[in-house]
């Protein structure tokens, strides 16, 4: 995926206002199946996989024994097997980790190179796919997944994405990339703008979604990363449970917050967050093409995490005023998948 095709801002705004398409074939895709598959995945993550119904997906994290996040992933249940989508850079590490924990006789198959993946994102995504695939998707629930055998081949269609907008992620089950390319071209001609890595990053940041390696790493637990909502409190044994449980009971020391600039400048990774003395650090920052100002995600000590709090960001030696906000950064009545439907 290039950084951009026509321009980061234009691509970003196409996704917020109409529809954009991303080639996300680099993302890791695993099929987990076999008798013990459900118990195996349930043991690997703090979320409840046993209760995940067929045709549904969930966002969760793989944790190590100390509760540190190995990767953030989506698990989809497809009848009696699972599709697990992981970060490209973590694929080998995840496979090794999963294999080392597989005392459940689950079968793990890496289908990354035997398939392709496209993300069609934006308020017009279901209309664009209706035109392209001839199937009605507007009534599908968010985080649901369906399998379709179409003329173009076998497709998995999930109503998920990494932009904050409504949209779909498509897995094209074929080792012939020209099939995905044909679909890519078809979707573009149905009024969808090709989007690159730059817009993918600005979109996910505006939505307040995490980027592994920047906002998350194996030293941070889901509690520390303000992702406690993925932890199922009622759950029995799983990897990292001891540490995560005890952190759930005590208050988290640090919190992941959104930062919106008041002054001029773009907060970037590793810039310090100050309130007199240093209270935290930026982990991801960019210029928001929608808000036309600098936005960021960072970690601050928890007593400084309330929305509205004024702070300063050290941008290359200059202290620039900013404030703590609760992402997403955009007005949710106007943008994002929860927006009031356009007519």
């Amino acid at each position: 995926m290039p950084l951009w095709y026509s321009g980061i801002s234009a691509e970003h705004l196409a996704v917020r206002n109409s529809c954009g398409i991303f080639d996300i074939s680099h993302m890791g895709r695993l099929i987990v199946e076999g008798n013990g598959a459900t118990e195996f995945l349930d043991y690997l993550v703090p979320s409840n996989v046993l209760g995940l119904h067929g045709g549904k997906g969930l966002y969760t994290v793989l944790c190590n024994e100390s509760g540190g996040i190995i990767d953030d992933i989506i698990i989809y249940r497809l009848g009696d097997k699972f599709l697990v989508v992981v970060n490209a850079a973590n694929l080998d590490k995840d496979l090794q980790w999963m294999s080392s924990k597989n005392n459940f006789n689950a079968r793990i198959t890496d289908i990354t190179t035997k398939s392709s993946m496209l993300a069609v994102q934006g308020p017009d995504a279901s209309t664009v796919l209706q035109k392209t695939l001839g199937i009605e998707l507007s009534t599908m629930a968010r985080f649901n997944i369906i399998e379709q055998n179409l003329q173009i081949g076998n497709l998995l269609i999930a109503r998920t994405g990494y932009t904050g907008e409504d949209g779909f992620e498509l897995v094209i089950n074929s080792d012939r990339p020209e099939k995905a390319l044909a679909l890519w071209n078809k979707i573009i001609s149905a009024d969808s703008l090709p989007c690159g890595l730059g817009a993918r990053d600005t979109l996910r940041l505006e939505a307040g979604l995490c980027l592994y390696g920047q906002d998350l790493n194996d030293k941070i637990t889901p509690v520390g990363a303000s992702l406690s909502w993925v932890v199922s409190k009622a759950k029995g044994k799983y990897v990292g449970k001891q540490v995560i449980d005890s952190q759930m009971k005590s208050k988290a020391m640090v919190s992941r917050v959104g930062i919106e600039m008041i002054g001029e400048g773009i907060p970037r990774k590793d810039h310090g967050i100050y309130r007199g003395s240093k209270i935290g650090e930026i982990t991801s920052g960019t210029f928001s093409p929608l808000l036309k100002k600098g936005i960021a995600v960072g970690y601050v000590s928890s007593e400084h995490s309330s929305a509205g709090l004024e702070v300063e960001i050290d941008i290359r030696g200059r202290r620039v005023p900013a404030k703590v906000v609760k992402p997403p950064f955009y007005d949710q009545t106007l943008y994002g998948w929860k927006r009031i439907k356009k007519d």
Binding site: M1, P2, L3, W4, Y5, G7, I8, S9, H26, M27, D72, N87, A88, A89, Y162, G196, L197, G198, R200, D201, T202, R204, C210, L211, Y212, G213, Q214, E264, G265, I266, R268, K269, S284, T286, F287, P289, R316
Partner: protein, 149 residues
């Protein structure tokens, strides 16, 4: 969920996009991609090249040395910041800043749209123009320099 981009502007080269860069014959160039236009024996207009502007992509802030400040050959003259990266600007010529392009405060995109004309950065009253001119590249030299990058 990919690795981030700050400073990695050269990644763009691997995208397979065939970008064309304008190089003007009447300008002198630095290896840091600034241009200098000799206006007369002492006055020099400075900006960043089309190549730099295209690599930076979508400039959103331009921060320049203030009027009357002294700048030195290949020392910082300010920064240009785009959605993806921050880049230092180096002064091709030593001297005093006599004018800055005020339009860039509200229209930083002029650096992308018109790097050699409306998107100029500063005007310098040069103090050592004759000697320093020789340290800069001609259009021909700069063209072959960027072709090899």
């Amino acid at each position: 969920m990919e690795a981030n981009q700050e400073g990695l502007i050269t990644l763009q080269m691997s995208s397979g996009q065939a970008l064309k860069y304008e190089v003007r014959d009447d300008l002198l160039y630095t290896k840091e991609h600034e241009w200098a236009k000799i206006l007369n024996e002492t006055r020099v207009l400075v900006g960043i090249t089309d190549y730099a502007a295209k690599l930076l992509h979508e400039v959103v802030y331009v921060s320049l040395a203030i009027v009357n400040s002294e700048v030195n050959h290949m020392q910082s003259l300010g920064t240009v910041e785009s959605v993806k990266a921050v880049s230092d600007i180096f002064s091709p010529i030593s001297g005093k800043v006599v004018k800055i392009n005020e339009k860039l405060a509200t229209h930083p995109e002029l650096v992308n749209n018109s790097p050699y004309d409306v998107g100029w950065l500063v005007e310098i009253d040069a103090k050592n123009l004759l000697a320093e001119k020789g340290k800069l590249m001609s259009a021909k030299e700069y063209s072959s320099f960027i072709e090899k990058l």
